[in-house]
Structure formats: structure tokens, C-alpha cells
Amino acid sequence: MTEKAETAAEGEAPAHSRNPAAAGEHRPEAGPARGGIRGALRAMEVDMRLIGMVGALALIWIVFDLFTGGTFITPRNLFNLTVQTASVAVMACGMVFVIVARHIDLSVGSVLGFIAMMMGAFQADFIPQYLGFDHPATFVLTILFGVFIGLIVGALQGFLIGYLTIPSFIVTLGGLLVWRGAAWWVTEGRTIAPLDANFRVFGGGIGGTLGATWSWVFGAVAIVAIVAFAINNRRMRMHFKFPLKPVWAEITNAVVLSGAVVAFVWVMNAYPVPERAARRIAEARGIPIPESGLDWAQGIAVPVVVVALVALAMTYIAQRTKFGRYVFAMGGNPQAAELSGIDTKRMTLYIFMLMGALAAVSAVIASARLQSAANDLGTLDELRVIAAAVIGGTSLAGGVGTIYGAILGALVMQSLQSGMALIGIQTALQSIVIGSVLVLAVWIDQVYRKRIGD
């Protein structure tokens, strides 16, 4: 063993929360401690890639804000940005698992379209025969139905990939065509509208936001969770007498995260519901309208809440469950996973079922947002979703990826798209820019990995 390898690998590790999702990176403990900002970031055990992505996002926002004369960084635009990102962000969470396990899913856009059509027909044509229109149970039944179809579609593809060992690229390339065709067949091309009133809430349009009070409640819950998680983690490590992070680092971490939550809620609440829409809602709910008019805040959009819940659940699965651990093990070394007794076939089946279920969730968001189900819904989403995951640091070689990275990746993609649209850049040029950014992002990521790799 060389001297270098010895010191590099055996330096005592500072404590930090376990994160197999980021395990492909070299950890800060691999090097000697340093002072200054780098040293501080090391002590806080911040993921440097996260810093890089947040920085890139900030840069994109600022540049667009300058080019649009200050209309990009406004509550209204940022609110729209979150709503537009939601559908892709949800699927990107599933795509992280798929890619980490060394597979790919090219069918998600078509699956979204197919499920949206099935749910559309279910809620608009089927259920009303029994329950009438806008029955309170309709949206629940519809969503369950959609998720069920997603699981079936995923199981079918996962079976072909896992048990019949047909490459995922081929199965899902076939799926891309099959499910798009199937989406058309549901109604022979007819667009389904209107959708159930409660179902439309998931689109984040009128009536689809939390409002000021509930947004603050949401923020408060998030902050309590951040603090509780940090304290619990620290207590566990103390119990086992593991090395600990300095207290100031823990506090800084918690304050920064909580600050981000507060800022987010504040911005979302700064975007008012248009007076006319507010009136309509108030009338529908029988709320008296004061003289001064209605000054309602939008608050956090419902689809964004869905993204938050999905991201939380998926992060939990990735880091705290055997299933997540096995996904990463499969990606790191499929042979080792198999020899360790992991049933990689069944794992593959489950991973694609999960992806199918998340495509169903995205189908709810996407069709609710358009307030209709059309058979071209989700076209090209597979590319956006894969790009989001990859820009977010998921390695196509497998074994490496994070949920938060994928969501940031989705936000970067959508920011570029919306920003260019705001400036009035031609669609053709938009595609060129986004395609180039994807390639550039992956290249930068590779260089970064190599540099810290040796």
C-alpha cells in the first residue's frame, strides 16, 4: 500500500449523517482539515455539488432577471416556475432510482400520457355514471386508479427487464411508442374535459394553492422536522460515542435550511390571487366579501406540496430502507449485490413499478394543470426527466445520485426554458441552449468527480 493511499483513506472521519445517496463522492474526511470557507464547509459537511448547483441556479435567475428587466425574480414568476417544474420533478425522483440501478426509462412521458387519459376517462366518463359529477370521492378513486395503472405498466416493463433480461433501453423505447399509442386509443384521440373539480386542485391553478396561513403551517412543519432530524442524529451519534460535528456547524446548517424554507414561503405568499378569481372562490365557498376587496395570497401550490412529499418519501427510501440500499448496491456492483443475496430481478421489477407509480402522480399534476386530458400530454418529458436527474448529479454509470439533486436539476431545466421564453427567444434556439447545457453540465460534473477522485 502506498503512503498516499494510507493517509488519504485512513484519516479519521468527521461525523456526518449517513448518505448512501451521495456515496459515490469522495467525502470531505478524505483530506486534511483546512481553514477558511472551505474548512468551514468541510466541518459542516456540505455536499459541494449541492453548493455548485444552487450557485448555478442563482446565476441563471440573476442573468434572466437582468435580461427581462426584473420580471424573472418576482413572486409571480417564481410561483409559476415551481408549478411548471412539479410534474418533471416528481418523475425525476423515480428516474434517480432507475438510473442509479444502471437502467434507463425512456417511456415515462408516454406512460404519463396514457395514465392521464385513463384517469380522464375514469373521472369524466366512468365514475359520473355511478356517483354523478364532482362527487367528493371522485378524485381519490381516480388517483388510486391512476397509481394502480402506473404500477401495472411498471411491473410489465420491469418484468421484461428484470426477469427476461431485455435491456431497459429497448423495453422502454418500445414502451415510449406503445404507451403513446395506447393513450390515443383510450378515447380515439378525443381530449377529455372538464375534469373533476377536486382533481383540478392538484394542478396548482385557481383554488390549487395553500393560501397564506397553511403555507406558513407547511413551513413551520418543515423547520420543526429539520431541527428534530439534526437533534436526533446527533443524539444517536453521541449514544454510540461517534465523532460529532461542531455545534456551530449543526446550528449553521439548521439556520440556513430553515431560512430557505422561510424565504420560500414568504415569496409564495407574496403572489396574490387575482381579485376576480378570489371572488369566484369566495362565492363558491360562501365566504363574505369585504368592502375593501379580497387580498388573498396564493401561497404554496398544491403540486409543489406533492413534490415535497414525494421527495421526502423517496429520500427516506434511498437512505433509510433496505430497498434503497439495494438500489445503490446494484448500481455500484451488480455482481456484489447478487452475491450478497439481493434478488436483483425482483429489485428491478420494484424499481420500475415505483417509476410507474410516480408517472401516475405526475399525470395527475400535468392533467390537472391543463384541466383536461389530451393524448399528447407528457410528450418529450422522458428527456426532461432524464436531463433533470443527470444535471442533478445522477451518474449514468450507476450507483450515484440524489433526490434533491434531481429536483434542483428539474428546476434548472425549467428556469432555462421559462427564462428564455420570457425574453422571447425562439423555440428552436431554446432547444439548442437546453441541449448544450445538458452536455455541459454532465461534462463539468465529470471533471469535478475526477478532480476530487484522485
Binding site: 483513506a9 456515496a23 448496491a329
Partner: protein
């Protein structure tokens, strides 16, 4: 004599037309180290992968403590307390030491979540015993040296109370000092009554550690011998020429004497 801990009886494995293992019979007793020797491609890894559940034998039977054992996959092997340290290190490079140590057998909290903290504590405990210099508990194992990776693999076997340990060229990728560490470990485990198959294509690696050697050539068993009954040169002759010396038990793969004579002439 009590029944053997393991007996592989008349095992054959072929890949397509190639007979990688051809009618091999070997046994292993508790607290015994059996060195499995042979050139690269002799079929050693294939033979033991039948025992560890990674491959299926086309023919032959496995007996554990005298009883016929059905080993269809690695999980079955683990149920018989068979642990394997593979030649190509079977670690997930992107995971850290404790995730690898517990891979497939994770400790969980009462409500089913991974208990990473407890797994790390157990890992620290066992690594403290096996390799006190080991401190990279949070680095993905790809960042570790060959010896550190090997000690993770060995810790995995020891932690889960292996009774039968298969080590496929465990020191092939290691330096001198690390090789000595692994050798010490083997003696420690042997003293605890574990039966060990130690595989190597290098006679120097095994001769001092093994009680017996079994030599394979072109998939077949040349013979087995107690190391006290044969010299290193005898074993070299078995490996290279398939020549079975007087002190050894002859196997079906031994080159017939008349053929050896014609080679010598």
C-alpha cells in the same frame, strides 16, 4: 472420524462446451485449511462458486456435516454459514464499509428502517479487532486500499459467524504487509474451528497456511495431499505436469505415469 464439514462429491460444471470443472471431489474438516491450487483457468473459482451458490453444478452433490445440502443461490449458502471472499472483490464500490459489511443482512430498527448508527458501531467494533488501523468508516470502499477492502470482506465473513469460509485468492491484490495481516487472520479463524478453502495459483501463498492441498489442472483433480507428506516441488509438479507424487491421494486428473515418462524422454 466425524463427518466432514464439507464434502464436494463428483462435481462437474461446464460452460457451453468447456468443462470448467470435471468430476472433482474434495472435503474439508472443522479447523482445517485446505489449499486449492492450480494454474489460472484450472477451474478453482468455478468449483468453489458451486459451494457458495453462485453457479450450479451440472453433476455432483454437496454434503455439509454428512448431510446432503441443496445450495441453489448465495442466500442458501449463507444459511449453511458458508461465507465467501471472492477473487474479484464482491464489494459495492459506492457504499461505505458498514453498508458493505451488512449488505443483504442489514440491521434494522424496530419499525424496519436501516439502523445505520448501530451498523456503524458494529463495524467499528469488528474492524477494531481485525484491523485496528482501519478508520475510513464513511468513505466509499472504492477509496480504500486493497488490504482495507479485503479486511472489510473478511470482517463480513467473521461477523456473520462463518463456519465454512471460502477465500478465492485473498491476497492477490495485496502488498507484503497486508498479505501477512490476512495470513494472521486465517490462522485466527482456523483456531476458532472454522473450515477454510484457500484458493491460489501461487504455491507460496498457501503452503505454510494449509493443512492439506488439493491440486486442479484443466478442470480435473490431480490429487490431494497433506502438506507434511509432500514437498513444495512435489506440489509444483502436480500443478505444472499433473504428476501425482507418492505422498498424495491420486485424483482423476492426474497424468498417467506412462505419459509422464514419454514427456521426460
Amino acid at each position: 472420524m466425524s463427518p466432514a464439514l464439507v464434502e464436494l462429491r463428483n462435481i462437474s460444471v461446464s460452460f457451453g462446451g468447456v468443462k470448467a470443472v470435471d468430476d472433482v471431489t474434495v472435503d474439508l474438516h472443522p479447523g482445517e485449511v485446505v489449499g486449492l491450487l492450480g494454474h489460472n483457468g484450472a477451474g478453482k473459482s468455478t468449483l468453489i462458486k458451486v459451494l457458495s451458490g453462485a453457479y450450479h453444478a451440472d453433476r455432483g452433490e454437496i454434503f455439509i456435516n454428512g448431510e446432503k445440502a441443496a445450495i441453489a443461490n448465495p442466500r442458501d449458502a449463507r444459511r449453511y454459514n458458508i461465507e465467501t471472499i471472492y477473487q474479484t472483490l464482491a464489494l459495492a464500490d459506492n457504499l461505505d464499509a458498514s453498508a458493505n459489511l451488512f449488505l443483504g443482512r442489514e440491521l434494522t430498527t424496530s419499525f424496519g428502517a436501516l439502523d445505520d448508527v448501530r451498523m456503524e458501531a458494529e463495524t467499528r467494533e469488528i474492524m477494531g479487532r481485525l484491523n485496528p488501523n482501519f478508520r475510513a468508516f464513511h468513505a466509499p470502499v472504492i477509496a480504500l486500499s486493497g488490504g482495507q477492502r479485503q479486511s472489510v470482506a473478511i470482517a463480513r465473513a467473521v461477523y456473520f459467524n462463518a463456519r465454512i469460509l471460502i477465500m478465492d485468492e485473498p491476497t492477490a491484490a495485496l502488498g507484503v504487509q497486508e498479505t501477512k495481516m490476512v495470513a494472521d487472520l486465517i490462522l485466527k479463524l482456523k483456531a476458532e474451528g472454522i473450515g477454510i478453502f484457500l484458493i491460489s495459483h501461487d504455491i507460496e501463498d498457501v503452503f505454510d497456511l494449509a493443512d492439506r492441498v488439493a491440486v486442479m489442472k484443466n478442470g480435473a483433480l490431480v490429487g490431494t495431499a497433506r502438506v507434511d507428506d509432500v514437498s513444495k516441488d512435489d506440489v509444483l509438479g502436480m500443478i505444472i505436469l499433473g504428476k501425482c507424487p507418492p505422498g498424495a491421494v491420486r485424483g482423476p486428473g492426474a497424468t498417467p505415469e506412462e505419459q509422464l515418462a514419454s514427456v521426460a524422454a
